[in-house]
Amino acid sequence: MNQVATNDPEPIRDEELISRTKDGDVSAFDELILRYTPRLYGLVYNMTFNNEDTNDLLQDVFAKAFRSIGGFKGKSSFYTWIHSIAVNMSINFIKKRGKRFNMSLDDIDSNIQFDKEFIEATTSTDPLRETNLQELQKKLNEVMLKLSNDHRAVVTMFDIQGMPHAEIAKILRVSEGTIRSRLFYAHRQLQTYLDEFKE
């Protein structure tokens, strides 16, 4: 019985790519890099707000993941695993960088952009909305830049990445109450800045 050939083959599952990587197939890990770089880029960028730092950190994240993949047992998804590596390394990086690094608006250039499918879906009825969306993104980045490192990390993980309070608390090694408190003050601060823009 002949099978119907399709032009769109099923993507290889993560588990298989991981297994092949463990067996020494480096190209399988390359596939994982191509698959998860876009999602992790957003996470790291929103914590560092610097493109060069984001790129360097992501290189380190994937290098660490490659070295440690032998110990990956598959209890969680690959994305959850590498996501936690990226969060921890970004937090450590921000702590080391501290206040020595003065971010400017030049750092938040337009290197990061909205997903094309998302723009098409949201602006198909009104082309003007695309411009508004780009403007809104710029404003959001500007107000995020005004937050402290601790507050920005919490906002990134909770509001942008959608992580639960408990998981954030575990990663940052603080209580859930501290996370809620930081979120409350960060949201209030962000709202105030946005109101200023409206005026």
């Binding site: 390359d30 890099i33 191509l34 770089t37 876009p38 880029y41 957003g42 960028y45 929103n46 790129n55 992501l58 290189q59 994937f62 290098a63 660490k64 490659f66 070295r67 440690s68 110990g71 290197n111 990061i112 952009q113 909205f114 997903d115 094309k116 998302f118 969306l133 809104l136 993104q137 959001l140 906002v155 509001d159 942008i160 990445q161 959608g162 949201h187 962000l190 709202q191 946005l194």
Partner: protein, 149 residues
């Protein structure tokens, strides 16, 4: 559940942010280049320590405690087995020799000894005159005929 603020709805838009087109491919090329460079630059010792630290970072407290318990148990078992195991004949002889009492017939003098021709024994010599001492056999001498039938 608390009501969501407008700012939270706006922040959620950032979930759809993506790096520029072609970035993943460029990133991968750079990753491969960096890995090759590191392989050349790093010494085997550096690679070993890095690998070890990565592996150790995966350990949790539970598994560390488990490993420590096994290590302690192994040490105690080893000590117990070495103490209770029978010793070899050579070791047995050596230990007997060390604890055997000194023969009572050895003279107490610590001076140098001279050998007298025709005499089986030795005589200690000291600056002062000391009486000759004879070494007796360890079993009594008897002139009686043995009772052999």
């Amino acid at each position: 559940m608390p009501e969501e603020l407008p700012i939270q709805k706006l922040l959620r838009l950032k979930r759809y942010e993506q790096p520029p087109t072609g970035y993943p491919e460029r990133f991968l090329a750079e990753f491969q280049r960096r890995q090759r460079t590191e392989l050349i630059r790093k010494s085997p010792w550096q690679m070993f320590t890095e690998g070890m630290s990565d592996r150790l970072s995966q350990f949790r407290v539970g598994s560390l405690a488990y490993a420590a318990t096994i290590a302690v148990a192994a040490v105690f078992s080893y000590q117990f087995l070495t103490q209770s195991s029978p010793t070899s004949p050579a070791a047995s002889v050596a230990s007997t020799a060390t604890v055997a009492p000194a023969p009572s017939y050895i003279p107490q003098s610590t001076g140098p000894r001279v050998t007298i021709p025709g005499n089986a024994g030795t005589v200690p010599v000291s600056g002062k005159f000391s009486p000759t001492q004879y070494v007796l056999e360890s079993h009594p001498v008897s002139h009686e005929h043995p009772f052999s039938f």
